[in-house]
Amino acid sequence: MTPEAVHGAEMIVHGAEWTIKELFTYPNEYIYWTIQIVMYPYLTGLVAGAFVLSSLYHVFGQNDLKDMAKFALVFSFALLLVAPMPLLFHLQQPQRNFEVMLTPHFTSAIAAFGMVYSFYLAIVASEIWFVYRKFFVEQTVALKGKTGISNTLLRITYHVLTLGAYDISESALHKDEKAIKLLAGIGIPVACFLHGYAGFIFGSVKANALWMTPLMPVIFIMSAIVSGIALCMLTDIVIMEWKKFRIRTSRKRWEMTADEIGGAEIDIVKKTSKYLLGFMIAALTLELVDLIFRGYTAMKSWDILRTVIYGKDFTKIFILQYGLGNVLPFVLLLLPRLTVKRAALAAVLVLFGVFMMRWNVVIGGQAFSLSFAGYMEYHLPMMPHNMETFKEGVLGALFMGVLPFILFWLFNKIIPSLKFK
């Protein structure tokens, strides 16, 4: 490009739009990693959490989670397909994304992403296949002879999905179960790896005083499981209650028994919430250990970190993340006589808390200058006025947040994962 072309071209200073600088920062410093990089670990966290929840049943035989397991598995698949999209949105050259697969540079923590991700995707997809194989065969048989385009299309879809494996004898199904158990077993460490490795991406940046801690991957895994369980619990409650509402307002309601109308079952909710509490304790402990350690060792960076943690970001960290996102739901779940509504509220708060944790790590890590002599504040773009402010603004993040639910709804047309009475 000639000098004239450079000087005449449209110029976007990436980050200038949403970064407010204070005191001394290096001239090139901006908040380069924004809301999409908050969404990325948030989504992979939800994936890992949902998968671990489903595996608790498949691998460790936690039968109380049986109904939740199928749902959690399909939901984690929907989330998984969306998980890399925030990264794509964030790239300055998104059309070159495939280079990560073509020329992976293995000293980089991001380079393995394509491989770890594909491997995990294959595990989840095959596990779903084994779980639903019997269903596919049954549907193919049931739809045989039925007329109508939608029936034909469905039959062809199921026919293809069986992959030609029609044996649903006792022994064949037993083999399926073995395969599921194996895949779920392999899946747990891989899910943890996928997410712990998202933590490694941050934890290994030695230039960033807030990010750099060997605890980061573990902290990420624990909070991931917390968020995944909370999301599964919440979605289950909402869908079951919606179903109940639909039945109650339908014309057939007089033909239903009380048991059929049901709604979310408090038993399932209670059992799931116990796992949630356990992982919350683990996550919070690790985060507090990290914080206390930083304060106690008081390295060079602590002077500025302290002003960020206890000053500028106090509300975001201690009120929103720990208060609203940890302590309050903790109390809500522990108080006796847990109700579905209370559990739902707690789950919403937990999800919010984990989101704030991601925010406080990603954005908080860029809230101070590398010079330790100044600050940067992130102003989330609300109304987009160009592609950049859409992608890295509130709308782009909402898009990422809604997409998994749309996919989940679509998947349920083919592989129903919610047990309706």
Binding site: E10, M11, E99, T103
Partner: protein, 249 residues
């Protein structure tokens, strides 16, 4: 018939022997050890903060002139008698330091203990974290030690920008890929000096070959007390400073 078979065998055998995948160590051994290691010397005692270096760099390297991004910049440090340190770099000091106010405050000269300028640029680290974290290998170290970015291959993830402890990297506003100081690689490899070195009227900036013991820059680095920036990160920066103060970030 036999000849055709032999040819066929030869052809099928050829790719196996013709292509060999080299490990990183083998590849490194295959490339002859470079006789050059570019190093930079900044004499902060000589810098007056005119900003000619910044201006020259922007023009030479097609870094858009007005956006507040730059491959090199100059920082002004004012240390007050009460121990406070004030630092600024208005627009990277492209137009020099034209106002006495620092960080938007008037400072009474009587309260100043010491003040000086510190030019900054990419340190072309021996152990560059930016190269380590690039997921696609778009940024790399040349045999002479200069770290470059392949603009046709960079995906623009920003990991290198995050990994640099010196804030030397940014996204080019037009090319939309990672951008950084190259020690004017296109010039130094042609026997010229860098744009900033050439533009500096006071000789505060110098570039040299650290493998050449007779190089004036190497001589100074070897014989005088020099400092480097942020050595705790283990990046082994190759920009050396004369008169570096402990307050410099």
């Amino acid at each position: 018939m036999l000849a055709t078979a032999a040819k066929g065998a030869l052809v099928t055998a050829l790719p196996l022997s013709a292509f060999k995948i080299l490990g990183p160590a083998e590849a490194k051994a295959a490339v002859k050890e470079s006789a050059v290691r570019w190093g930079f010397l900044v004499d902060t005692n000589r810098c007056v903060g005119c900003g000619f270096c910044v201006k020259a760099c922007k023009l030479e390297n097609e870094v858009p002139y007005d956006p507040p991004l730059t491959r090199t910049w100059v920082e002004r440090y004012v240390i007050l008698k009460d121990g406070r340190t004030l630092i600024d770099t208005p627009n990277g000091a492209r137009d020099g330091f034209t106002k006495p106010e620092i960080q938007e405050r008037d400072v009474n000269p009587k309260n100043i203990a010491k003040a000086f300028f510190v030019p900054k640029l990419c340190n072309q680290c021996e152990n560059p974290p930016c190269v380590q974290v690039c997921p696609v290998g778009a940024t790399y170290q040349t045999p002479g030690g200069v770290v470059l970015v392949d603009r046709t291959w960079c995906i623009g993830c920003g990991y290198c920008i995050m990994a640099c402890p010196y804030g030397a990297r940014f996204f080019h506003p037009v090319h939309k890929v990672a951008e950084k100081c190259t020690f004017c690689y296109h010039r130094i490899t042609q026997g010229m000096t860098t744009a900033c070195v050439q533009a500096c009227p006071f000789g505060a900036r110098k570039i040299g070959n650290l493998k050449d013991m007779s190089d004036p820059v190497t001589k100074i680095i070897l014989s005088q007390r020099v400092g480097i920036l942020k050595d705790a990160f283990g990046t082994k920066p190759q920009v050396y400073y004369l008169g570096l103060d402990e307050t410099v970030r």
